[in-house]
Protein backbone atom coordinates (compact mmCIF):
# COMPACT_ATOMS: atom_id res chain seq x y z
CA UNK A 1 0.00 0.00 0.00
CA UNK A 2 1.41 3.33 -1.05
CA UNK A 3 1.91 5.58 1.93
CA UNK A 4 0.76 9.17 2.00
CA UNK A 5 3.28 11.93 1.40
CA UNK A 6 3.75 14.79 3.85
CA UNK A 7 1.42 17.09 2.00
CA UNK A 8 -1.38 14.52 1.94
CA UNK A 9 -0.86 13.66 5.59
CA UNK A 10 -1.01 17.34 6.50
CA UNK A 11 -4.16 17.85 4.48
CA UNK A 12 -5.88 14.85 6.01
CA UNK A 13 -4.89 15.70 9.56
CA UNK A 14 -5.98 19.32 9.11
CA UNK A 15 -9.29 18.20 7.70
CA UNK A 16 -9.86 15.76 10.55
CA UNK A 17 -8.79 18.30 13.18
CA UNK A 18 -5.98 16.03 14.20
CA UNK A 19 -3.15 18.57 14.29
CA UNK A 20 -1.46 20.19 17.24
CA UNK A 21 -0.93 23.96 17.31
CA UNK A 22 2.34 23.80 15.34
CA UNK A 23 0.87 21.52 12.70
CA UNK A 24 -2.19 23.69 12.37
CA UNK A 25 0.00 26.75 11.88
CA UNK A 26 1.94 24.92 9.21
CA UNK A 27 -1.23 23.92 7.36
CA UNK A 28 -2.62 27.44 7.49
CA UNK A 29 0.65 28.88 6.21
CA UNK A 30 0.57 26.42 3.32
CA UNK A 31 -3.03 27.35 2.54
CA UNK A 32 -2.06 31.01 2.43
CA UNK A 33 0.65 30.46 -0.15
CA UNK A 34 -0.59 27.42 -2.07
CA UNK A 35 -3.91 27.84 -3.90
CA UNK A 36 -3.97 24.20 -4.99
CA UNK A 37 -3.73 23.06 -1.37
CA UNK A 38 -6.55 25.41 -0.40
CA UNK A 39 -8.70 24.22 -3.28
CA UNK A 40 -8.12 20.58 -2.37
CA UNK A 41 -8.94 21.29 1.26
CA UNK A 42 -12.20 23.02 0.32
CA UNK A 43 -13.25 20.12 -1.88
CA UNK A 44 -12.44 17.56 0.77
CA UNK A 45 -14.40 19.34 3.48
CA UNK A 46 -17.47 18.38 1.48
CA UNK A 47 -16.70 14.70 2.03
CA UNK A 48 -17.18 14.84 5.78
CA UNK A 49 -20.13 12.63 6.66
CA UNK A 50 -22.86 13.92 8.91
CA UNK A 51 -24.02 11.16 11.24
CA UNK A 52 -27.54 10.01 10.57
CA UNK A 53 -29.94 9.19 13.36
CA UNK A 54 -30.78 5.53 13.02
CA UNK A 55 -32.57 3.82 15.90
CA UNK A 56 -32.18 0.19 16.77
CA UNK A 57 -35.68 -0.69 17.90
CA UNK A 58 -34.98 -4.04 19.57
CA UNK A 59 -32.90 -2.75 22.46
CA UNK A 60 -35.22 -4.36 24.96
CA UNK A 61 -34.23 -7.76 23.58
CA UNK A 62 -30.59 -7.06 24.34
CA UNK A 63 -31.08 -6.05 27.95
CA UNK A 64 -30.43 -8.46 30.78
CA UNK A 65 -31.71 -8.88 34.29
CA UNK A 66 -30.37 -11.12 36.99
CA UNK A 67 -33.33 -12.28 39.04
CA UNK A 68 -32.68 -11.78 42.75
CA UNK A 69 -34.95 -13.17 45.42
CA UNK A 70 -36.54 -10.32 47.33
CA UNK A 71 -38.35 -12.41 49.93
CA UNK A 72 -38.07 -10.97 53.47
CA UNK A 73 -36.86 -14.42 54.57
CA UNK A 74 -33.85 -14.32 52.28
CA UNK A 75 -31.57 -13.15 55.09
CA UNK A 76 -33.18 -15.16 57.88
CA UNK A 77 -32.52 -18.66 56.60
CA UNK A 78 -28.88 -18.10 55.57
CA UNK A 79 -28.32 -16.40 58.95
CA UNK A 80 -29.75 -19.46 60.69
CA UNK A 81 -27.45 -21.67 58.65
CA UNK A 82 -24.44 -19.54 59.58
CA UNK A 83 -25.39 -19.66 63.25
CA UNK A 84 -25.74 -23.42 63.07
CA UNK A 85 -22.33 -23.75 61.40
CA UNK A 86 -20.74 -21.59 64.07
CA UNK A 87 -22.32 -23.67 66.79
CA UNK A 88 -20.98 -26.81 65.15
CA UNK A 89 -17.50 -25.33 64.92
CA UNK A 90 -17.54 -24.38 68.60
CA UNK A 91 -18.60 -27.87 69.54
CA UNK A 92 -16.02 -29.56 67.35
CA UNK A 93 -13.11 -27.43 68.50
CA UNK A 94 -13.99 -27.59 72.18
CA UNK A 95 -12.83 -30.87 73.73
CA UNK A 96 -14.60 -29.87 76.93
CA UNK A 97 -17.80 -30.66 75.22
CA UNK A 98 -16.73 -34.22 74.78
CA UNK A 99 -18.17 -35.08 78.16
CA UNK A 100 -19.92 -31.93 79.13
CA UNK A 101 -18.72 -32.55 82.67
CA UNK A 102 -18.55 -28.96 83.75
CA UNK A 103 -22.24 -28.62 83.48
CA UNK A 104 -23.35 -31.98 84.69
CA UNK A 105 -20.55 -33.19 86.92
CA UNK A 106 -20.35 -36.40 84.93
CA UNK A 107 -17.00 -38.00 84.27
CA UNK A 108 -15.94 -41.15 82.54
CA UNK A 109 -15.22 -44.20 84.60
CA UNK A 110 -11.65 -44.56 85.76
CA UNK A 111 -10.85 -40.92 85.43
CA UNK A 112 -9.60 -39.34 88.57
CA UNK A 113 -9.32 -35.89 87.19
CA UNK A 114 -10.40 -34.49 83.87
CA UNK A 115 -8.75 -31.63 82.07
CA UNK A 116 -10.81 -29.09 80.14
CA UNK A 117 -10.00 -26.76 77.39
CA UNK A 118 -12.27 -24.33 75.64
CA UNK A 119 -10.45 -24.21 72.37
CA UNK A 120 -7.26 -25.50 70.79
CA UNK A 121 -4.27 -23.71 72.19
CA UNK A 122 -6.06 -22.36 75.22
CA UNK A 123 -4.74 -22.98 78.68
CA UNK A 124 -6.03 -26.13 80.32
CA UNK A 125 -7.89 -25.72 83.53
CA UNK A 126 -8.48 -28.24 86.26
CA UNK A 127 -11.77 -29.99 86.62
CA UNK A 128 -13.99 -28.88 89.44
CA UNK A 129 -13.10 -30.67 92.65
CA UNK A 130 -16.71 -31.59 93.28
CA UNK A 131 -16.86 -33.69 90.10
CA UNK A 132 -17.91 -37.17 91.09
CA UNK A 133 -16.92 -40.46 89.56
CA UNK A 134 -19.92 -42.45 88.54
CA UNK A 135 -20.29 -45.81 86.90
CA UNK A 136 -23.38 -45.37 84.88
CA UNK A 137 -22.52 -46.14 81.28
CA UNK A 138 -26.02 -45.42 80.17
CA UNK A 139 -25.80 -41.88 81.32
CA UNK A 140 -22.39 -41.39 79.84
CA UNK A 141 -23.45 -42.78 76.50
CA UNK A 142 -26.51 -40.65 76.47
CA UNK A 143 -24.48 -37.60 77.17
CA UNK A 144 -21.93 -38.41 74.46
CA UNK A 145 -24.59 -39.25 71.99
CA UNK A 146 -26.27 -35.96 72.65
CA UNK A 147 -23.12 -34.01 72.11
CA UNK A 148 -22.10 -35.82 69.00
CA UNK A 149 -25.41 -35.36 67.26
CA UNK A 150 -24.48 -33.62 64.00
CA UNK A 151 -25.96 -30.22 63.51
CA UNK A 152 -27.81 -30.17 60.25
CA UNK A 153 -27.24 -26.98 58.25
CA UNK A 154 -30.06 -25.53 56.22
CA UNK A 155 -29.54 -25.89 52.48
CA UNK A 156 -30.57 -22.77 50.54
CA UNK A 157 -33.82 -23.38 48.78
CA UNK A 158 -34.28 -22.68 45.11
CA UNK A 159 -36.19 -19.51 45.91
CA UNK A 160 -33.20 -18.08 47.74
CA UNK A 161 -30.72 -18.77 45.01
CA UNK A 162 -29.68 -15.84 42.89
CA UNK A 163 -30.58 -16.75 39.38
CA UNK A 164 -28.40 -15.47 36.61
CA UNK A 165 -29.79 -15.75 33.12
CA UNK A 166 -26.41 -15.92 31.44
CA UNK A 167 -26.02 -19.03 29.39
CA UNK A 168 -22.54 -20.36 29.52
CA UNK A 169 -21.65 -22.52 26.53
CA UNK A 170 -19.41 -24.60 28.75
CA UNK A 171 -22.44 -25.71 30.70
CA UNK A 172 -23.85 -27.28 27.63
CA UNK A 173 -20.53 -28.74 26.58
CA UNK A 174 -20.23 -30.52 29.88
CA UNK A 175 -23.56 -32.14 29.27
CA UNK A 176 -22.78 -32.78 25.62
CA UNK A 177 -26.14 -31.41 24.72
CA UNK A 178 -27.84 -31.58 21.41
CA UNK A 179 -30.42 -29.14 20.33
CA UNK A 180 -33.40 -30.13 18.30
CA UNK A 181 -34.72 -27.58 15.93
CA UNK A 182 -37.98 -28.41 14.37
CA UNK A 183 -39.74 -26.07 12.06
CA UNK A 184 -43.03 -27.85 11.47
CA UNK A 185 -44.76 -24.96 9.85
CA UNK A 186 -42.11 -24.69 7.19
CA UNK A 187 -42.70 -28.26 6.09
CA UNK A 188 -45.94 -27.09 4.67
CA UNK A 189 -44.40 -24.38 2.54
CA UNK A 190 -43.22 -26.83 -0.04
CA UNK A 191 -42.68 -30.52 -0.37
CA UNK A 192 -41.25 -31.95 2.83
CA UNK A 193 -37.73 -32.65 1.68
CA UNK A 194 -36.67 -33.09 5.28
CA UNK A 195 -38.65 -35.21 7.62
CA UNK A 196 -36.10 -35.49 10.40
CA UNK A 197 -35.54 -32.76 12.96
CA UNK A 198 -32.27 -30.94 12.63
CA UNK A 199 -29.78 -31.73 15.32
CA UNK A 200 -27.37 -28.98 16.10
CA UNK A 201 -24.62 -29.59 18.59
CA UNK A 202 -24.46 -27.18 21.46
CA UNK A 203 -21.69 -24.58 21.63
CA UNK A 204 -18.40 -26.35 21.91
CA UNK A 205 -14.99 -25.42 23.13
CA UNK A 206 -14.29 -23.59 19.93
CA UNK A 207 -16.82 -21.01 20.92
CA UNK A 208 -20.13 -19.59 20.09
CA UNK A 209 -19.14 -18.15 16.70
CA UNK A 210 -18.29 -21.53 15.26
CA UNK A 211 -21.34 -23.07 16.80
CA UNK A 212 -23.46 -20.34 15.34
CA UNK A 213 -21.90 -20.76 11.90
CA UNK A 214 -22.56 -24.49 12.00
CA UNK A 215 -26.10 -23.96 13.16
CA UNK A 216 -26.67 -21.42 10.46
CA UNK A 217 -25.19 -23.74 7.84
CA UNK A 218 -27.39 -26.61 8.87
CA UNK A 219 -30.50 -24.51 8.86
CA UNK A 220 -29.40 -23.07 5.54
CA UNK A 221 -29.10 -26.56 4.11
CA UNK A 222 -32.47 -27.37 5.49
CA UNK A 223 -33.88 -24.29 3.86
CA UNK A 224 -32.04 -24.92 0.63
CA UNK A 225 -35.14 -24.94 -1.47
CA UNK A 226 -35.87 -21.32 -0.64
CA UNK A 227 -34.11 -18.44 -2.29
CA UNK A 228 -31.41 -16.82 -0.16
CA UNK A 229 -32.80 -17.66 3.25
CA UNK A 230 -31.61 -15.53 6.11
CA UNK A 231 -31.51 -16.99 9.53
CA UNK A 232 -31.33 -15.22 12.83
CA UNK A 233 -30.60 -17.58 15.68
CA UNK A 234 -30.26 -16.39 19.23
CA UNK A 235 -30.40 -18.03 22.58
CA UNK A 236 -32.53 -16.75 25.36
CA UNK A 237 -34.03 -17.88 28.62
CA UNK A 238 -33.23 -18.04 32.29
CA UNK A 239 -33.27 -20.37 35.24
CA UNK A 240 -32.58 -23.42 33.15
CA UNK A 241 -35.31 -22.68 30.64
CA UNK A 242 -33.05 -22.11 27.69
CA UNK A 243 -34.62 -21.46 24.35
CA UNK A 244 -33.46 -20.93 20.84
CA UNK A 245 -35.23 -18.24 18.89
CA UNK A 246 -35.00 -18.85 15.19
CA UNK A 247 -36.16 -16.35 12.68
CA UNK A 248 -36.21 -17.29 9.06
CA UNK A 249 -36.70 -14.86 6.28
CA UNK A 250 -36.84 -16.04 2.72
CA UNK A 251 -38.89 -15.01 -0.23
CA UNK A 252 -42.22 -13.93 1.22
CA UNK A 253 -41.76 -15.86 4.45
CA UNK A 254 -40.79 -14.35 7.73
CA UNK A 255 -41.23 -16.92 10.44
CA UNK A 256 -40.05 -16.79 14.02
CA UNK A 257 -40.03 -19.84 16.22
CA UNK A 258 -39.00 -20.36 19.81
CA UNK A 259 -37.65 -23.78 20.53
CA UNK A 260 -37.08 -25.04 24.03
CA UNK A 261 -33.62 -26.49 24.25
CA UNK A 262 -33.53 -30.08 25.28
CA UNK A 263 -30.39 -31.40 26.87
CA UNK A 264 -29.81 -35.01 26.03
Amino acid sequence: MKELNDRELLLLAYLDGDLDAAGKQRAEALMAEDAAFTHEYRLLTGTRLEPETIIYTDKHKLKRTAKVNKSPLRFVIPATAVAACLALLVLLYNPGTKTGSSATGLVTPGDKEITYSNAPGTKEIAAPKEAKIINNPAKINTQEKHIQTPVKTQEPTEAETIVDNRIEPEMLVAKRAEINIELPELYTLTEPVYTEPIIIAAPGKKGFREWYANAEKKVNNFMGYLQKPKINIRRTGDNGQQRLVIRLKADKYDVEREVLLSVK
Binding site: L43, I54, K59
Partner: protein
Protein backbone atom coordinates in the same frame (compact mmCIF):
# COMPACT_ATOMS: atom_id res chain seq x y z
CA UNK B 1 -18.71 -4.26 34.35
CA UNK B 2 -21.97 -4.68 36.23
CA UNK B 3 -25.27 -5.79 34.80
CA UNK B 4 -26.49 -2.20 35.10
CA UNK B 5 -23.52 -0.95 33.11
CA UNK B 6 -24.13 -3.62 30.49
CA UNK B 7 -27.70 -2.37 30.07
CA UNK B 8 -26.34 1.17 29.89
CA UNK B 9 -24.10 0.02 27.03
CA UNK B 10 -27.21 -1.20 25.23
CA UNK B 11 -28.79 2.23 25.60
CA UNK B 12 -25.64 4.10 24.63
CA UNK B 13 -24.18 2.04 21.82
CA UNK B 14 -26.82 -0.20 20.23
CA UNK B 15 -27.99 2.54 17.85
CA UNK B 16 -24.47 3.46 16.74
CA UNK B 17 -23.49 -0.15 16.31
CA UNK B 18 -26.57 -0.91 14.29
CA UNK B 19 -26.02 2.17 12.13
CA UNK B 20 -22.38 1.23 11.55
CA UNK B 21 -23.27 -2.27 10.37
CA UNK B 22 -26.32 -1.17 8.45
CA UNK B 23 -24.34 1.45 6.55
CA UNK B 24 -21.83 -1.19 5.59
CA UNK B 25 -24.08 -4.10 4.77
CA UNK B 26 -27.25 -2.22 3.79
CA UNK B 27 -29.24 -5.11 5.21
CA UNK B 28 -31.45 -4.44 8.22
CA UNK B 29 -31.93 -8.09 9.05
CA UNK B 30 -28.24 -8.91 8.95
CA UNK B 31 -27.37 -5.74 10.88
CA UNK B 32 -29.86 -6.64 13.61
CA UNK B 33 -28.41 -10.11 13.71
CA UNK B 34 -24.89 -8.83 14.21
CA UNK B 35 -25.95 -6.38 16.90
CA UNK B 36 -27.61 -9.20 18.82
CA UNK B 37 -24.61 -11.48 18.52
CA UNK B 38 -22.26 -8.69 19.52
CA UNK B 39 -24.14 -7.90 22.71
CA UNK B 40 -24.46 -11.61 23.41
CA UNK B 41 -20.68 -11.83 23.35
CA UNK B 42 -20.32 -8.79 25.56
CA UNK B 43 -22.69 -10.35 28.07
CA UNK B 44 -20.65 -13.54 28.10
CA UNK B 45 -17.56 -11.49 28.97
CA UNK B 46 -19.38 -8.93 31.10
CA UNK B 47 -17.34 -9.57 34.22
CA UNK B 48 -14.04 -9.28 32.34
CA UNK B 49 -14.88 -6.16 30.36
CA UNK B 50 -14.51 -2.63 31.69
CA UNK B 51 -17.31 -0.19 31.02
CA UNK B 52 -14.83 2.38 29.68
CA UNK B 53 -13.59 0.05 26.95
CA UNK B 54 -16.94 -1.55 26.15
CA UNK B 55 -17.67 0.64 23.14
CA UNK B 56 -14.44 -0.25 21.35
CA UNK B 57 -14.94 -3.88 22.29
CA UNK B 58 -18.44 -3.85 20.80
CA UNK B 59 -17.33 -2.23 17.56
CA UNK B 60 -14.42 -4.61 17.20
CA UNK B 61 -16.63 -7.65 17.71
CA UNK B 62 -19.28 -6.28 15.37
CA UNK B 63 -16.69 -5.41 12.73
CA UNK B 64 -15.21 -8.91 12.80
CA UNK B 65 -18.67 -10.41 12.67
CA UNK B 66 -19.50 -8.21 9.71
CA UNK B 67 -16.36 -9.27 7.87
CA UNK B 68 -17.34 -12.90 8.40
CA UNK B 69 -20.77 -12.20 6.97
CA UNK B 70 -19.30 -10.41 3.98
CA UNK B 71 -16.90 -13.25 3.28
CA UNK B 72 -19.62 -15.81 3.76
CA UNK B 73 -22.02 -14.15 1.41
CA UNK B 74 -19.40 -13.05 -1.09
CA UNK B 75 -21.80 -10.51 -2.34
CA UNK B 76 -19.80 -7.38 -1.80
CA UNK B 77 -17.50 -6.84 -4.67
CA UNK B 78 -14.46 -4.73 -4.24
CA UNK B 79 -14.95 -1.87 -6.59
CA UNK B 80 -11.84 0.09 -5.91
CA UNK B 81 -10.87 -0.09 -9.51
CA UNK B 82 -13.20 1.67 -11.83
CA UNK B 83 -14.76 3.63 -9.01
CA UNK B 84 -13.94 6.92 -10.60
CA UNK B 85 -15.50 5.88 -13.87
CA UNK B 86 -18.78 5.42 -12.10
CA UNK B 87 -19.01 8.98 -10.96
CA UNK B 88 -22.60 9.88 -11.40
CA UNK B 89 -23.97 13.07 -12.70
CA UNK B 90 -25.01 15.15 -9.78
CA UNK B 91 -28.39 15.86 -11.23
CA UNK B 92 -29.43 12.42 -10.02
CA UNK B 93 -29.23 13.44 -6.39
CA UNK B 94 -31.16 15.97 -4.43
CA UNK B 95 -28.26 17.20 -2.38
CA UNK B 96 -24.80 16.63 -1.06
CA UNK B 97 -25.97 14.30 1.67
CA UNK B 98 -27.69 11.94 -0.69
CA UNK B 99 -24.77 12.01 -3.08
CA UNK B 100 -22.39 11.25 -0.24
CA UNK B 101 -24.52 8.33 0.86
CA UNK B 102 -24.49 6.91 -2.63
CA UNK B 103 -20.77 7.45 -2.85
CA UNK B 104 -20.30 5.79 0.51
CA UNK B 105 -22.12 2.70 -0.71
CA UNK B 106 -19.71 2.43 -3.60
CA UNK B 107 -16.58 2.63 -1.50
CA UNK B 108 -14.55 -0.50 -0.90
CA UNK B 109 -15.46 -2.10 2.40
CA UNK B 110 -12.31 -1.08 4.31
CA UNK B 111 -12.47 2.53 3.18
CA UNK B 112 -16.12 2.76 4.09
CA UNK B 113 -15.55 1.19 7.50
CA UNK B 114 -12.74 3.50 8.55
CA UNK B 115 -14.54 6.58 7.25
CA UNK B 116 -17.73 5.67 9.14
CA UNK B 117 -15.78 5.05 12.33
CA UNK B 118 -14.07 8.39 11.89
CA UNK B 119 -16.97 10.62 10.88
CA UNK B 120 -19.92 8.89 12.53
CA UNK B 121 -18.37 7.60 15.71
CA UNK B 122 -15.58 10.13 16.10
CA UNK B 123 -12.90 7.54 16.75
CA UNK B 124 -9.24 8.54 16.57
CA UNK B 125 -6.94 6.95 13.99
CA UNK B 126 -5.45 4.84 16.74
CA UNK B 127 -8.81 3.54 17.91
CA UNK B 128 -9.88 2.76 14.36
CA UNK B 129 -6.64 0.85 13.86
CA UNK B 130 -7.44 -1.21 16.94
CA UNK B 131 -11.03 -1.94 15.91
CA UNK B 132 -10.27 -2.80 12.30
CA UNK B 133 -6.97 -4.57 13.04
CA UNK B 134 -4.99 -2.16 10.84
CA UNK B 135 -1.89 -0.05 11.33
CA UNK B 136 -2.26 3.69 11.89
CA UNK B 137 -0.68 4.32 8.49
CA UNK B 138 -3.16 2.03 6.80
CA UNK B 139 -6.04 3.81 8.53
CA UNK B 140 -4.80 7.17 7.27
CA UNK B 141 -4.35 5.88 3.75
CA UNK B 142 -7.83 4.35 3.70
CA UNK B 143 -9.45 7.50 5.05
CA UNK B 144 -7.56 9.66 2.59
CA UNK B 145 -8.48 7.43 -0.33
CA UNK B 146 -12.08 7.30 0.80
CA UNK B 147 -12.29 11.08 0.96
CA UNK B 148 -10.62 11.45 -2.42
CA UNK B 149 -13.00 8.90 -3.92
CA UNK B 150 -16.01 10.70 -2.45
CA UNK B 151 -14.65 13.98 -3.72
CA UNK B 152 -14.39 12.51 -7.19
CA UNK B 153 -17.85 11.06 -6.87
CA UNK B 154 -19.66 14.16 -5.80
CA UNK B 155 -17.67 16.38 -8.11
CA UNK B 156 -17.69 19.88 -6.92
CA UNK B 157 -19.78 20.13 -3.75
CA UNK B 158 -20.08 23.84 -4.09
CA UNK B 159 -22.46 23.24 -6.97
CA UNK B 160 -24.78 21.41 -4.64
CA UNK B 161 -24.71 23.79 -1.71
Amino acid sequence: MTEQQYNQCVDLYADGLYRFILKNLRDEFEAGNIVQNTFEKLWMKVSETRFETAKSYLFKIAYNNMIDVIRQNKRYVQIEEGFHDEAVEMGEYKGLKEALNKGLERLPEKQRTVLLLRDYEGYSYEEIAEIASLSMEQVKVYIYRARMALKEFIGNPEVLL
